[in-house]
């Protein structure tokens, strides 16, 4: 777990360095709508872009604006200052307007030879699913042509199997966190997920075996209340650790660097492209899917109930339109279901916010009578 700790806050991890040294290629992507199986089937390492609470944004600010989410500005900063120069290309998705801006500016400056835009519909219907199938085929073709690899159906299905394994193990890890008493903390779970998001599925799967074995009998410190956390994309392990330092246990999550990335990835089709489309567009529990609030709400309530939480934290980055508006309905529905809520609007990665956040969480725990 100690290696994990540093791996989960490094961008150019030992693993990635090793991969590159062996001549491996790395493709950066940002959004969970990106089917990593397709990248892996090409023998390329899919690397989820992170900022790890990186506080500087001057370069990012020169292109984006202070009205853009700071997570995007921080990622752009890292991209422009060279921290991401180990990437061999980028896969853009229209996750949100801020992300689109981030990718456009990044590409405008860095001009990667491989830059592919995967267009993800904002709703699920037969016609949008068909369109997404075509989109995935275009992505497959682009990667295949540029990197000169044959992405066969078999390779894709093999990657799907590997990821099914990964997801099953992640569910076990989540079960260790959900059980009473828990064997793993929220911060540890996020470390695992962040680390895994820069690894090949097979290696992540092996690492999960170790983590599960090591953690099975562990007993983290006592806690006062069990909480679920949801909201904006955040890779801030520190944020979760700060929250947990007040005596809360993040027993469950509906985060994008969390359960939303893997909990439901189902599909029936035997055709790999169709299958990936079903797995991804079919289960994109993100507020960018404008017509599916009820599915997201049900997913959150189901998760909260399963983990037996005492309360919920909804957190979103300042200027995040999608989560900012979603928070209003989420709060109302959670409260109607008897789950008290704390809404935390925060600036991504801002250390200046730490004290305020801790105070608010402490006050929330008091409100919960803990």
């Amino acid at each position: 777990m100690r290696t994990l700790q540093c791996q989960s806050t490094d961008l150019f991890t030992e693993y990635v360095r090793d991969w590159k040294e062996k001549g491996g290629k790395v493709l950066g992507y940002a959004c969970v709508a990106t089917p990593v199986e397709l990248i892996e089937a090409a023998g390329i390492l899919p690397y989820r872009i992170k900022a790890f609470g990186h506080p500087d944004t001057e370069l990012g600010d020169a292109y984006l604006a202070r009205f853009n989410c700071r997570f995007c500005r921080s990622c752009l900063q890292l991209g422009l200052e060279g921290s991401y120069d180990f990437l061999d290309g980028l896969v853009e998705t229209n996750g949100c307007d801020h992300l689109r801006g981030m990718f456009e500016n990044w590409q405008h400056v860095k001009k990667y030879d491989f830059f592919h835009y995967l267009k993800v519909p904002h709703f699920l219907r037969e016609d949008s699913l068909e369109y997404f199938v075509e989109e995935l085929s275009l992505m497959r073709q682009a990667i295949s042509e540029y990197f000169g690899v044959d992405i066969t159906d078999e390779k894709i299905m093999r990657a799907v199997d590997i990821y099914d394994e990964v997801f099953a193990k992640l569910k076990k890890l989540y079960a260790l966190r959900e059980k009473v008493p828990p064997a793993v903390t929220g911060a540890e779970v996020m470390q695992v997920l962040c680390t895994g998001s820069s690894m090949m599925g097979e290696d992540f799967s092996a690492m999960l075996d170790e983590v599960l074995a090591e953690k099975a009998g562990a007993s983290p410190p006592d806690y006062k209340a069990r909480l679920i956390i949801m909201g904006s994309a955040t890779d801030e392990v520190d944020l979760i650790a700060d929250i947990e330092s007040t005596g809360a246990l993040i027993a469950a999550d509906a985060l994008c660097f969390g359960s939303r990335a893997f909990w439901k990835r189902e599909g029936e089709s035997a055709d790999p492209m169709q299958l990936l489309a079903e797995r991804y567009l079919g289960y994109l529990f993100c507020p960018r899917m404008f017509t599916e609030y009820e599915r997201r709400r049900d997913y959150i309530l189901e998760t909260a109930r399963r983990a037996g939480v005492d309360g919920a934290i909804i957190t979103y980055n300042k200027f995040c339109d999608l989560h900012g508006v979603e928070a209003v309905s989420q709060r109302a529905d959670l409260e109607a279901a008897g789950i008290p809520v704390l809404v935390l609007e925060k600036d991504y990665g801002s250390k200046a916010d730490t004290g305020r956040i801790k105070t608010r969480v402490q006050a929330f725990l008091e409100r919960l009578g803990k």
């Binding site: 020169a62 292109y63 984006l64 604006a65 009205f67 853009n68 989410c69 995007c72 229209n94 949100c96 307007d97 801020h98 689109r100 801006g101 981030m102 456009e104 500016n105 405008h108 835009y117 267009k119 519909p121 904002h122 709703f123 016609d127 949008s128 369109y131 075509e134 507020p287 960018r288 404008f290 017509t291 609030y293 300042k318 200027f319 339109d321 999608l322 900012g324 508006v325 979603e326 928070a327 209003v328 309905s329 709060r331 809404v343 609007e345």
Partner: protein, 453 residues
């Protein structure tokens, strides 16, 4: 909140006074009227009744009144009123019997322009519910009023902002759920290539079917022909007005930019929109013949790259003119309307889909690359209209434009050799940046940058 305090209801009341105004209002009568109006309204009316735009403002007010009347009348007679964003084509709704569009951003703008206290109380109400303060006031003002549940209520919402504006889409998704009314939608495929366009048409046809189903009627070809025929005439007049902007000094009053899209976003497809467009063209032609320009000389020709400011009409549009700064139009005028082939239902729907795809924001922010499409359009317009500078208003909610503004500014300088002033202010809420500060920045920019070139 009482029903009479709702935004739509209040605006409707205000616009009823239009009926009691004389057709040609004299300076004295205007003086008297302004005297009794509350300050916020006085500003707007003062700007709209400046002598050079007075007759057409009267006509515009009449059109807006009719538009609001239409919504009420539709409700009374059992029809359906659709709340739409500005980038949705009202003519699509007029193609149906007993259906009427009301436009979120136009209603917010009317509230800001015509009501005492502008739209702030509705904005505050929305914030009170927990909606974020970085949401778009263009919607949030109208939506804030709707959320009070004491205002005029639409029967369904159509959002065609999927793909081009998150906050707009999200706000309407939220409102539909809150009001428990259907949300119909249209996605821009963020792809202007052949495949993306084909898919967009598919979605458009699907929406038309859903509207037919919701309204319980099939589109009637004759009615479509009549409505789209009107839209075609208005589009031709749009291009005449566009060409008139090219003369120096510009014979088209600054406020016409706003009037053009006021017509576009409300009554396009009706004879009233044609009439307004015609009057604007005629007025500009007359001014051209007479060589009229409000200031001694035209000092700068500015193209606003996205929205303008709407919270102080007199403070901006006419002030610019008085200082010789021409407002050649803004991003909301950049929709390049085409004439639709009226042969059949199929050709008409395809023509509408093509126009819808090119509506402002849909076209630029819903493109494969926001910065590239936006830049292409602004560069072309600036060149065509002979702009010597651009102004980006920096509406704080437009995260997409904010994220492309730097690239657009620097590329505009390279391609057109014209500078861009980047301002920061909410276009619909005066609290963020006062008009005086914005004016000061514009003045300095014109004096120190534009005139020095």
């Amino acid at each position: 909140m009482k029903p009479y305090e709702g935004l739509i209801n209040r605006v409707y009341e205000i616009f009823s006074i239009v009926d009691s105004l004389p057709e040609r209002i004299s300076d004295e009568e205007l003086e008297g009227l302004l005297h009794v109006l509350p300050a916020d309204m006085r500003n707007t009316f003062g700007a709209f009744f400046a002598p050079h735009v007075r007759p057409i403002s009267m006509e515009l007010f009449g059109m807006v009144k009719k538009w609001l009347d239409g919504a009420h009348e539709t409700k009374r007679s059992g029809g359906k009123v659709f709340l739409v964003p500005f980038n949705f084509l009202p003519e699509v709704i007029f193609c149906f019997e007993g259906a009427w569009p009301i436009t979120s951003e136009v209603l917010s703008s009317l509230g800001v322009m015509a009501l005492e206290g502008q739209g702030e109380r509705y904005w505050d109400y929305a914030m009170g519910l927990g909606l974020p303060d970085f949401a778009c006031s263009a919607n949030m003002i109208e939506v804030g009023s709707a959320l009070t549940e004491s205002d005029f209520t639409p029967d369904a919402i159509i959002s065609d902002c999927f793909g081009s504006c998150d906050i707009n889409s999200k706000t309407h998704e939220f409102l539909a759920r809150y009001m428990d009314i259907p949300l119909l939608f249209l996605e821009k495929t963020v792809d202007n290539g052949e495949r993306g366009v084909k898919q967009y048409y598919k979605y458009f046809f699907k929406l038309a079917e859903e509207m037919e189903e919701f309204l319980g009627q099939e589109l009637d070809e004759e009615r479509m022909r009549r409505v789209i025929g009107n839209a075609n005439k208005a589009s031709e007049l749009y291009w005449e007005l566009w060409d008139l902007h090219k003369f120096k000094p510009c014979p088209v009053p600054n406020l016409f930019s706003l009037f053009t899209y006021a017509a576009r976003f409300t009554m396009w497809g009706t004879e009233d929109a044609v009439r307004i467009m015609q009057t604007m063209v005629d007025t500009a032609k007359e001014r051209l013949e007479r060589g009229e320009y409000p200031a001694d000389r035209e000092v700068a020709r500015s193209l606003w790259t996205y929205t303008s400011y709407y919270f102080d009409m007199g403070g901006l549009f006419n002030w610019m003119e008085d200082n010789g700064i021409t407002h050649l139009g803004d991003g909301l005028d950049l929709y390049f309307p085409e004439v639709v082939d009226l042969t059949s239902r199929e050709t008409m729907l395809t023509g509408l889909a093509e126009i819808a795809r090119n509506m402002p924001m849909t076209r630029q922010m819903g493109a494969n690359s926001m910065s590239v499409q936006w830049l292409d359009d602004v560069t072309w317009a600036a060149g065509e209209l002979g702009a010597d500078c651009c102004i980006y208003c920096g509406h704080h909610s437009c995260k997409q434009t904010w994220s492309s503004a730097t690239v657009v500014r620097s590329e505009l300088m390279k391609r057109q050799k014209i500078p861009t002033l980047i301002l920061q202010g909410d276009s619909w809420i005066r609290r963020m940046t006062p008009m005086s500060a914005l004016q000061e920045s514009i003045e300095e920019f014109v004096k120190n940058v534009v005139k020095q070139r």
